[in-house]
Structures are given as structure tokens and as C-alpha cells.
């Protein structure tokens, strides 16, 4: 997905003179073709994220579309005030491309794990937050970044993630995509957890339960209209995301559900990373499994919510495994 995203930046730059690129201190060879062919629009600025965001804002205020790329934690935490006051307060056309959203950098530990990036980006006025599910969806999304007004945070996954979307899944910024329909449960995902959601729905189907899957690649602005349509068709709702349980997709959906005052109320749970620093290494997949961010765990939760079991006990069990 990262390669697809950067390839698209290059392709967009070839046809649109407004496209500039700023990296911090990226891997050797990154976007060499861009640098060779359009050197006056390519900058590698070193490990200085605060300066990079200010620079990008200055360029964008002059009418350019500035794509900034570095590791997601450094792009969101390190220069948070520059993102807020430079990019967002000025509503500048800055595109923040964050490598390794979620648990991708598992072997590198908590300094490199972007598990609250969606929460903090979502809290900033003017910011749009997007987490595509796979490389193909990234290719459909990126051309839309040219003429979108305002800053965008683009959350990248690991790369070589399974392709789960098709050209039929047309991308619109701010729009959810209904991947499958069923009235027994609604599973909502963003980014690469779409695969988890789809696998869970398949497993439930085998058991005779029909689940909807709503993919929300844009977390902000949240497509409340589509969400409400999907919510109206079922009473069991689960969100699944590779992100802290605070402030991400689950929180956004919970806010919608809470204010909708459904009667009867929904049986709703968020599946996410608990409010703690990640203490283990391993791989992205092993950490996802540790945190029960798996199709099997989603199925189990849907089953328990559907059968009216005491879900609090179920959740306690889930999290006791983690702790």
C-alpha cells in the first residue's frame, strides 16, 4: 500500500505541476524517479518534522499540493502543534502520508506504533482522516487528493496487504462503502481490518448468520448517513480497528449510536487496542492476535451479542487474555 501511495504521488506529480513532495529522512531510493525527473518539487528535509509541516504549509498556501511522508508516529505526535496550527488552522492542502499506521512496526516497539493517530488527527478541525484497506483502494483514492480542499491524513498499512476491494467499490472521500449486506449483524471496519471484518462475515455466513460489512476508509468526516442506514437494519453492531479503543473508528460510531437514541437500543461493542502501551514485539499479525483483532474473535463477539449473553463478562474475558 505504501508503494502504491508513493507511486501515485509520482504519477500525480507528472501531470499536475502543483504537486510537491517532502520527506523527512526516508529509506534510500524512495521516489528516486520523482527526484530525478522533477527535482525542484522534491525535498528530503531530514529529521525535522516541525519544520517539514511548516514548509509544506507555506508551499500549500501558495497554491501547491504538498505530500509529506514519514513514519506515522513522527508525523502525528512529534509535530502535532504544527499539524494543528500550520496545516489545519490555515486549512492548507497538505497531505500527510503516515507509514505504518497501527501495529505495523511491531518489532520496533511503542515509539514506532501509531495506535492513537486516528484519535488525535480526528480531533483537529479541517482535518480529513483516511485509512484505505489495500493498495488497489489507495490507487482509487489518491487522485481525489488533488482537488480536495484542506489537509488530509493518510494512514498507510504495512504493504502487501491482501487485496479485498475491487473497482466496483468506488472511492469517495467522506463516503462509507457497503461491502456486503445482512440483517443479523453489522461489522464496521477501517483500513486493513476490512479483511478481518469480511472474513468474520464469511465465517458467520457458514453458521447461517448474515452480517453486513460497512467499510469506512474515511473516518473523518464520518459518513453518518450511510452509517445510519446500515444501523437501521440490525441490532448487533461491532466495530473493529487497528487503533486504540479511545478516539478512533469505534468512538466515532459510538458517538453516532449514542445520539441516535435507538429503540430498542443496539447491542454494540468496539474491538480495538486497549488503553495501554504495547508491551510485546513480534509481528503485526501476532499483536493483532494478542488483541483479539481477528475474524474468529469478531465472530465470537457477534455470537455473544446476538444471543444476549452477558457481554460485559465476554469482554472481560477478552481483555483478561491481553493483560
Amino acid at each position: 500500500m505504501r508503494q502504491a501511495c508513493l507511486d501515485m504521488v509520482y504519477e500525480l506529480a507528472k501531470t499536475d505541476q502543483r504537486v510537491f513532495f517532502i520527506g523527512s529522512d526516508l529509506g534510500v531510493g524512495t521516489l528516486d524517479k520523482f527526484k530525478d525527473e522533477m527535482p525542484d518539487r522534491f525535498f528530503m528535509e531530514g529529521v525535522s518534522e516541525a519544520n517539514v509541516i511548516g514548509m509544506a504549509t507555506g508551499l500549500s498556501l501558495e497554491g501547491k499540493i504538498t505530500y509529506v511522508n514519514t513514519i506515522a508516529t513522527f508525523l502525528t505526535r512529534r509535530c502535532f502543534e504544527q499539524v494543528v496550527l500550520d496545516a489545519c488552522l490555515h486549512n492548507a492542502n497538505v497531505r500527510l502520508i503516515g507509514n505504518g499506521g497501527g501495529l505495523v512496526y511491531a518489532p520496533l516497539g511503542p515509539t514506532h506504533l501509531a495506535v492513537e493517530d486516528i484519535a488525535i488527527m480526528r480531533a483537529i478541525p479541517n482535518m480529513t482522516v483516511v485509512a484505505p484497506a489495500d493498495a488497489d483502494e489507495m490507487r482509487r483514492f489518491m487522485p481525489l487528493t488533488l482537488d480536495h480542499q484542506g489537509p488530509i491524513y493518510i494512514r498507510l498499512a504495512k504493504g502487501y496487504d491482501p487485496i479485498v476491494t475491487t473497482d466496483e467499490h468506488k472511492f469517495e472521500i467522506g463516503k462509507a462503502i457497503c461491502m456486503r449486506q445482512g440483517s443479523d449483524a453489522l461489522i464496521i471496519s477501517t483500513g486493513i481490518t476490512l479483511k478481518v471484518a469480511l472474513d468474520a462475515a464469511e465465517m458467520l455466513e457458514v453458521e447461517g448468520a448474515h452480517a453486513s460489512v460497512l467499510h469506512m476508509p474515511t473516518i473523518k468526516p464520518l459518513d453518518v448517513e450511510s452509517l445510519m442506514v446500515s444501523l437501521s437494519k440490525t441490532s448487533v453492531v461491532v466495530t473493529v480497528e487497528e487503533h486504540s479503543i479511545i478516539g478512533g473508528l469505534g468512538s466515532a460510531v459510538a458517538e453516532t449510536i449514542a445520539e441516535a437514541n435507538f429503540e430498542p437500543s443496539k447491542r454494540f461493542r468496539r474491538m480495538a487496542i486497549p488503553d495501554q502501551f504495547v508491551e510485546n514485539y513480534g509481528s503485526q499479525d501476532s499483536l493483532m492476535a494478542n488483541y483479539e483483532l481477528t475474524a474468529e474473535a469478531v465472530c465470537s463477539l457477534v455470537r455473544s451479542l446476538s444471543s444476549g449473553l452477558n457481554t460485559n463478562l465476554e469482554m472481560q474475558k477478552t481483555y483478561s487474555n491481553i493483560n
Binding site: M55, T66, D86, L89, H90
Partner: protein, 277 residues
Amino acid sequence: MINSTSSVSSQLDDRSLHLRRTAVKILNVSRRGHLGSAFSIVEILRVLYDEILRVNPNDPEWDQRDRFILSKGQGCLSLYVMLAEKGFIEESELWKFCQSDGILGGHPEHKIPGIEASTGSLGHGLSIGIGFALNARYEKSDSRTFVVIGDGESNEGSIWEGALSAGKHKLSNLTVIVDYNKNQSYASTYEVQDLEPLCDKWQSFGFGVREVDGHDIGQLRNAFENLPFVPDKPSVLICHTVKGKGISFAENNMEWHHKNRLTDSEIQELLQELEVG
């Protein structure tokens, strides 16, 4: 080595006194503001707006304009005086300073005609200015970028990230102006976070460096008319200034960095200090 401890001795002329009187009248509206920070940059702004900046108040977005950023946004009182005088904003806006129906707040915002970037939190303006300067170079425009930073602001790491970047890009169309009044909020810069040797620091980051008395119109004019100071390098003008310049009891007085709840008599005392002739 360049000496950065020059003394400041210049007297204020009628125009400088008048500009400060207007600033005090603005302060009278809100009864609060950063007077000390504003009065150290009056002559810098006066020379820039009177003689140096190529801007058009009738077309603030003119694409060939020079870009000016007051990165030390707390000095905005003096900037608002200049913007009104030059016609970027209506004078009536001055008398709504910090009021709910006004456009001028305690820090400058880009929605105000003539303001390029919102500032207030320190350490932001230089990097935005670098973006402006890089764009001007790319567009082969003669537009120049001027950024005023504070000495307290120079504690911020982002200033030095920007200095590295501007030096690397040899941005000869960028001028950084340091309001070196040697005082920050708590105490002197020497006590809080000493910047010396300041000129050497900027020089080592790849800048052409000059020092002036920041209240001396002639020195400021001469410096700005000779940009860049070194070919193919960004310039930095270290302006030796006095915080609260022009008000005997506010000069170098930390209590006047920011003032709250100014009384009628304090306003009168300020105006008396600034009487012409």
C-alpha cells in the same frame, strides 16, 4: 566573530511616538496586551512597511507581493497599527481589538487582510516562510519573504530546524529579523536561555548576518536595502532593541511583557510618555 552586544541609543522621532500612541489607544480597548513585545519592533515594522515591502493594500493577495510574517505574534499591536495606516484594514477595526465583533485578536490571524500566517504559538513562522521562499524560487518570482522572530522564540527547536533548512536551500530571498531585546517573559534571555553567541550561531547555519540598532531608522533602512547580505545565502538581521521602548517605566521591565487590567491612569501615563515634542 561578530559582536552581538551592541548598545541601543537612538531617540524616537515624532512618527515613532505617534505609532506607539496609536498602539496604546488600541490597548485602551482591551485593557490587556503585550505592550513590551510590540514596542520593541515598531521601528522594524515602520521601515519595512514604509520603505521596503512590496505590497498592495488594495490587492493583499497580489501574487508578486513580498511576504511578511510576524512569527512572534504577541507583538501584533504594532503590526495592526501599520496595517490600518497602510489601508489593509479599516481603522475602525483597531477600536474593536479583542472584542467579539472585531477581526483583530491578541495574536494575528491569516483571515486578516495583509496577514500571511496565523502566529502566536512560537516557532512556527520561519518554516512557513521557508515554504513561501521555496515557492517563489520555483515560480521564478522576485517575491521576498521577511520573518520577524523573537529572542525568547529562539528557544524553540523548530527555529533551528528552520535555520538548517533555509541554510541548506540557500534561500537568498528569505530574511529573518531577530527582535533581540534580551528579555523574555520570566527574565532576561541571559538568565532564562542564553542565545550567545547569537550572530555566530546564525552564521554557522549558513546565513549572512548583520546587526543593527533596531530603533535606528537609518541603520534598518540601510540593512534592508542591501539584501541579501551574502549572495546565495539567507539573511538574518539581528536587531538590538529595547523591550517596551519609549515608555520609561516599561523599558526592560518584565511586568510589561504582558499586561492585564490596565487602569485609566496607567493608560494616561503611557500616553503622557509618548507625547510629541
